[in-house]
């Protein structure tokens, strides 16, 4: 029953973000990058429901457009992190010994540094672009998933059904993929959703510092940075992107909490 409340709240919040994502693809009211010198800093009204910014760009269209980039970056980044994390964590946990030590040495050395710092360095060295942000974030987040996979695998590999599979001659790769991985989902799913939320925060932070999505394309971090100068006079520049960011991250947290409760109580999702 508790998990249901989490799902409903998370579903509503994420529903708003997904609607924004779909609208950004099919029906934007204005070109998000088109400037209009005659309509600078217009307060929310009938023609610009979220108002306009200092270049006269429609904030509503820019919020929709930013949600597109944010959702795309977080999903693409988490996919890279998951693939890398699972591909390194499973063998580390399953084989143990030298394989485990060397993989975890590499993972731990990445985790020694603050994640945002590593991502910033990577983007600063290889250039600020959306694709560099995606792989940098993927690389920074991978060790977390590797740890989750490794710990779960170490526990599951001692269970009877894995011994059975080994006795019947199933190859290690298949044991990891078909026997162990499906049983790791209860740990991996909530971790993935939380990872999405954290990755969004990282991406916004990087954009805020100017190292994420590059202007004139919209991103929440950049929009918040730009709104600072107009905080008192045009608060809508801050409010609407912040709200959207809050909805997305809070929605993901609620979803992960719901998943955690329903998976840990053994109930169906």
């Amino acid at each position: 029953m508790r998990s249901r409340a989490f799902y409903i709240t998370g579903g509503i919040l994420l529903g708003i973000c997904v609607t924004a994502f779909i609208m950004s693809l099919v029906c934007l009211p204005y070109d998000p990058n088109a400037t209009d010198a005659s309509a600078k800093l217009v307060a929310p009204c009938a023609s610009h429901i979220f108002g306009t910014d200092n270049f006269g760009r429609d904030v509503f269209s820019r919020v929709l457009s930013a949600s597109k980039y944010t959702i795309f970056i977080s999903f693409a980044g988490i996919a890279i992190a998951l693939v890398l994390g699972v591909a390194t964590g499973l063998p580390a946990g399953y084989f143990g010994g030298f394989t485990d030590k060397s993989i975890m040495l590499f993972n731990n050395s990445i985790m020694c540094f603050p994640g945002i710092l590593l991502a910033l360095v990577a983007v600063a060295v290889f250039g600020a672009s959306m694709f560099n942000v995606i792989w940098a974030l993927g690389l920074v987040f991978a060790p977390t998933f590797a740890r989750v996979c490794r710990a779960g695998t170490m526990e599951i590999k001692e269970r009877g059904y894995i011994l059975h599979a080994r006795v019947t001659g199933v190859k290690p790769v298949r044991i990891m993929a078909a026997h162990i991985l499906p049983n790791l989902l209860p740990q991996l799913l909530p971790a993935t959703v939380i990872g999405l939320a954290n990755m969004t925060l990282f991406e916004s932070g990087m954009s805020y510092l100017g190292l994420g999505v590059q202007p004139p394309d919209a991103s929440f971090g950049k929009m918040l940075a730009d709104s600072q100068s107009y905080l008192m006079t045009s608060p809508w520049l801050l409010v609407f992107p912040s709200l959207m960011l809050i909805f997305y991250i809070l929605g993901l947290y609620f979803l992960s909490e719901g998943l955690r409760v329903s998976l840990s109580s053994g109930g169906a999702m």
Binding site: R159, G160, L163, H164, A165, R166, V167, V170, A178, N183
Partner: protein, 523 residues
């Protein structure tokens, strides 16, 4: 003598059910049962898994799961109705008036608490504020449950104790406040024979000294016979039989009790078991020489210098107390543990059946997937139709219908899971099956079915079986040859009749003594 017949606990018309959201009117799991526990007696409660024994006991202790509802009846304890009592008063009764010992000693103790702290908490909760007095009481009870150095046990963590020692600590915890009633929920089912006998003797002694009344739940009928004064038999939530232990177990009133007794004896004659005949002059199909193994990061050798021969068509018994290396030996032969020494086999595959039917199947996949997997792994080239036929045949061989193919392990009982595990092993037609205590965690009826199945496989397919077990009686009846292990090495080996007649090693003498004390000489 007068107090002997006053009832400490009286259960009147008790029914328990699990109502759900979708099923507000469920079938009760305990149906209108009535019984009393006399002051000072030891009452046994027996029945197969799911017969409602544990639910009945937990209702008395007030520890029913949240989803369970008592739909009718009353339980009186020393004249007070437990079901109408307020929660606080009921909670205070736990420990001081009603003690409980659970089945699994490995999970019943907090792994982060030292023994002393775990026990100290019990006394503190019940109002003893004097630290020195608490410590003295704990040391006294620890020595009462048979620890020769209670000071040492006081500062140990649960993982530093063996299963038997943990169970002693739990008994000490339950007896610490000298409760009037002690509920024992299968306290010996996860222990080996030697430890079981010791724990039962201890329980009996403690109960006598502290004048405790005991409700003893078990599916081990030998334990019940030796330990209890009176026995109640439950089936499907109802009481089907009740009498004094000796009378009931020698002259059962109901057919069900008789069947339970027959199954519990696992007697090959009554079960109609016949095995394949063995020719020991032929050459062995599996030979192991100078096997030694140790676990990672451990200097301790768990197996040392083991020689093993397995002959065609034989059922080889492998016995020994817990921790003697039986399971390690089977895993080593299966190639699951790195080892030194040589293993030569002339046949094809070695199959395995493990002890725990809960963990032997992957919860994420159906029965069909489990049976397909060995075929895929063995790269058997066959059409999907042939594969299906073969899978269905393997399932029929173990006595399950094709309707089980789509089921997930969670929808199977312990016995059915063990059958699926055997089918997974049979589908590749192994020449040897390593069966590691395949029935020790099943109830008597399922265990006898699995035993029948294994002997049938041996008889009809000629598969050799290495049977690892605690049950010497089964070994005596169906294994022509036996190996006795102690501390990681073979201490006796030979024809079962000779080895068990003239035990040479201390380990085997202990096993046989425990067997005699637990089961009597009726076997």
């Amino acid at each position: 003598m007068n107090t002997r017949h006053t009832h400490l606990v009286k259960v009147h018309d008790l029914s328990i059910a699990f109502p759900g959201v979708r099923n507000p009117d469920p079938v009760p799991v305990v149906k209108n049962i009535e019984f009393g526990i006399r002051d000072g007696e030891i009452l046994g409660l027996i029945g197969n898994s799911g017969s409602g024994k544990t639910m009945t006991a937990m209702a008395i202790a007030g520890l029913l799961p949240d989803s369970a509802r008592i739909i009718s009846g009353r339980i009186s304890f020393a004249g007070e109705n437990l079901l109408t009592m307020n929660r606080r008063r009921r909670r205070m009764m736990l420990g001081s008036d009603i003690g409980v010992i659970f089945q699994e000693p490995s999970t019943a103790l907090d792994p982060l608490c030292k023994v002393g702290k775990s026990l100290d908490e019990i006394l503190e909760c019940h109002g003893n504020k004097d630290r020195a007095d608490r410590r003295a009481k704990i040391l006294a009870i620890l020595s009462m449950v048979g620890f020769t150095d209670p000071e040492d046990i006081y500062i140990r963590y649960p993982h530093q104790l063996s299963g038997g020692q943990r169970q002693r600590v739990l008994i000490a915890g339950a007896a610490l406040l000298s409760p009037k009633l002690l509920i024992c929920d299968e306290p010996t089912s996860s222990l080996d024979t030697v430890t079981t006998v010791a724990i039962l003797a201890l329980l009996k002694d403690i109960c006598h000294r502290l004048h405790m009344t005991v409700l003893f739940i078990s599916h081990d009928l030998s334990a019940v016979r030796n330990f209890c004064d009176r026995v109640i038999v439950m089936r499907g939530g109802e009481i089907v039989d009740r009498d004094s232990a000796e009378e009931m177990l020698s002259h059962p009133h109901s057919g069900y009790t008789a069947e339970l007794l027959t199954n519990a004896r696992l007697d090959p004659r009554t079960l109609g078991l016949t095995r394949a005949s063995v020719d020991y002059s032929s050459s062995p199909i599996l030979t192991a020489r100078h096997l030694a193994a140790r676990y990672d990061n451990s200097a301790k050798t768990v197996l040392s210098d083991i020689n093993l021969d397995i002959y065609p068509h034989e059922i080889l018994g492998l016995i020994g107390s817990s921790g003697c290396g039986k399971t390690t030996l089977s895993k080593t032969v299966l190639g699951l543990i790195p080892h030194t020494g040589s293993i030569t086999c002339t046949g094809g595959r070695i199959g395995a059946v493990f002890q725990d039917p809960v963990s032997c199947l992957n919860p994420a996949h159906s029965v069909m997937w489990h049976l397909k997997e060995p075929l895929i792994a063995a790269r058997k080239r066959m059409s999907s139709r042939d594969m299906k036929i073969r899978i269905e045949k393997a399932l029929t061989d173990v006595g399950l219908g094709s309707e089980y193919l789509t089921r997930l392990p969670s929808a199977l009982s312990g016995g059915q899971r063990q059958r699926v595990a055997i089918a997974m092993c049979l589908i590749l037609e192994p020449f040897v099956i390593m069966a590691d205590e395949p029935f020790s965690s099943l109830d008597a009826s399922s265990a006898s079915e699995i035993l029948k199945l294994l002997t049938r496989i041996n008889r009809e397919k000629g598969t050799s079986i290495v049977l690892i077990t605690h049950n010497i009686h089964i070994v005596r009846q169906i294994c022509p040859r036996v190996i006795v292990m102690d501390r990681g090495s073979v201490c006796e080996e030979g024809l079962t009749s000779e080895v068990l007649q003239n035990p040479q090693s201390e380990a085997l003498c202990n096993l046989l003594n425990a067997e005699r004390r637990l089961h009597g000489d009726n076997h």
